[in-house]
């Protein structure tokens, strides 16, 4: 299984880089906690719990954007991407490995953020956590893909949120629905469908993004 080995090696490279440089994860953690504090003051005193659970998704999407924006920066600054494209591996492995690495950062950030959210606002439902996990898959798959495109453009950091947010709307719908509906199954199913569709699309088309 050379494909799996390639993906593992590439993902390991990104995780090791983060472990040594600590560029992304502390920033994401600090950002998400600061966002919660901002949310506390932007919600009026007697606003409903539903409003807070909606804001959780705003925090998740923007924290993810912070990580995704950094994902391809080392590749760009050290011109690693040229080397990776020349390497004898399937190009989609580059995307998959990068998605796994960003997923690891996002999950690590949420492992702190969700308990903090539960502490600051109100408890979390199991369905919300399930929704967050499913949403993370879609966010990282699509976001990494768009991040690879955005770093190759002139606008760079400016472009990623513009490309990503319209595609994140269905994720937010599914996630918020799973958190507030009495029967979250349909929403979780929708999130899984999103992950599957866009995961396949990214996997199939990533080659066109990195090769000219």
């Amino acid at each position: 299984m050379t494909y799996v080995a390639d993906v593992r090696a590439l993902a390991r490279k990104d995780l090791l880089l983060e472990l040594r440089a600590r560029d992304t994860l502390p920033a994401m953690l600090l950002f998400v906690v600061a966002t919660f504090v901002v949310f506390h003051f932007s919600l009026p005193a007697h606003s409903s719990q539903l409003a807070a659970s909606g804001l959780l998704w705003v925090a998740i999407v923007f924290t993810a954007l912070l990580g995704l924006g950094r994902a391809f920066v080392p590749e760009r600054e050290q011109r690693t991407l040229d080397g990776l494209v020349l390497a004898p591996c399937d190009r989609s492995a580059i995307w998959l490995a990068k998605s796994i690495a960003t997923l690891a950062f996002l999950v690590a950030a949420e492992a702190v953020a969700l308990p903090v959210f539960a502490l600051f606002f109100h408890g979390l439902r199991g369905a919300t956590v399930a929704g967050v996990v499913l949403a993370d898959l879609g966010i990282c798959a699509v976001g990494t893909f768009l991040g690879a495109m955005a770093v190759a453009t002139r606008a760079r950091d400016l472009l990623l949120p513009l490309l990503f947010l319209p595609l994140a709307i269905p994720i937010v719908v599914g996630g918020v629905g799973a958190g507030v509906a009495s029967a979250p199954g349909g929403y979780l199913g929708f999130l899984a469908l999103y992950d599957l569709l866009f995961g396949l699309l990214c996997w199939a088309t990533f080659e066109y993004v990195v090769t000219e």
Binding site: M149, A152, T153, R154, A155, L159, L162, L163, L165, P166, L167, I169, P170, V173, G174, V176, G177, V180, A181, G186, Y187, F190, L193, Y194, L197, F198, L201, T205, Y208, V209, T211, E212
Partner: protein, 226 residues
């Protein structure tokens, strides 16, 4: 470069002018007033036809994008871009006509409970980002590939967003408006079909005009460099 079986631009323009006039006559003089909404319901014939035309443009753009990725033909890239450009123009018209209709029928310029309006807002944001992406990459194969891949994301996003907006309604806005009664036959159906055909043909004409202009522009630039 023109393929022999293609209609010339002039005949296409004439045909769409005739059809658009016919559609206007049918919609304003032949079709009876709607029982519940009266005269204002006639905007339906344009609103829905424009929406369908916009979908057709986006689908056409994605099809050309797929062709580009497949055949690496730079003409398909330009065609994809022009189709999406037309789609965005028609998409803005959907938002405008939908707003007018919502204002007259329900007294608000914007209703989150209107699936199609919300969907077109999402699509509008998405395809505006398409233009941002396209114009921040230098012309060449990379720009064409990026645009094509993003256009493919668009056709997947349309049904996914539609589904999302449908399921979001249950917690964002529980009540559902019904637009028109079940009596969708006779002259109403004829007028709708004619209006739909007229707008599709009109969009095709605009697409061909813009494509011809863009090609001429490129040719001129090549000649100037040569």
């Amino acid at each position: 470069m023109a393929r022999p079986y293609r209609l010339s631009l002039t005949s296409l323009a004439l045909a769409s002018a005739v059809l658009v006039t016919l559609a206007l006559v049918l919609v304003f003089y032949v079709v009876p007033n709607d029982a519940s909404q009266g005269f204002s319901q006639r905007i339906f014939y344009f609103h829905v036809s424009i929406a369908f035309t916009a979908y057709a443009c986006f689908a056409g753009g994605a099809w050309k994008a797929l062709r580009y990725l497949w055949k690496r033909d730079s003409r398909a890239d330009l065609e994809s871009y022009v189709a999406i450009h037309q789609g965005v123009i028609f998409g803005v018209l959907v938002l405008l006509t939908g707003s007018i209709w919502a204002k007259i029928s329900w007294g608000h310029w914007w209703l989150w409970s209107e699936d199609e309006l919300v969907l077109f807002l999402v699509l509008f944001l998405f395809y505006c980002a398409y233009f941002m992406l396209r114009f921040s990459v230098d012309p060449g194969p990379q720009r064409a590939s990026f645009s094509a891949v993003y256009a493919l994301f668009g056709v997947v996003l349309i049904p996914v967003s539609f589904l999302a907006i449908r399921i979001a309604k249950s917690f964002v806005h529980p009540q559902v408006f019904t637009l028109h009664g079940p009596n969708f036959g006779g002259w109403i159906l004829v007028a709708y079909c004619v209006a739909q055909a007229a707008l599709l043909l009109f969009a095709l004409t605009l697409y061909r005009v813009e494509l011809a202009g863009k090609r001429l522009d490129m040719r001129l630039r090549e000649l100037r460099i040569a």
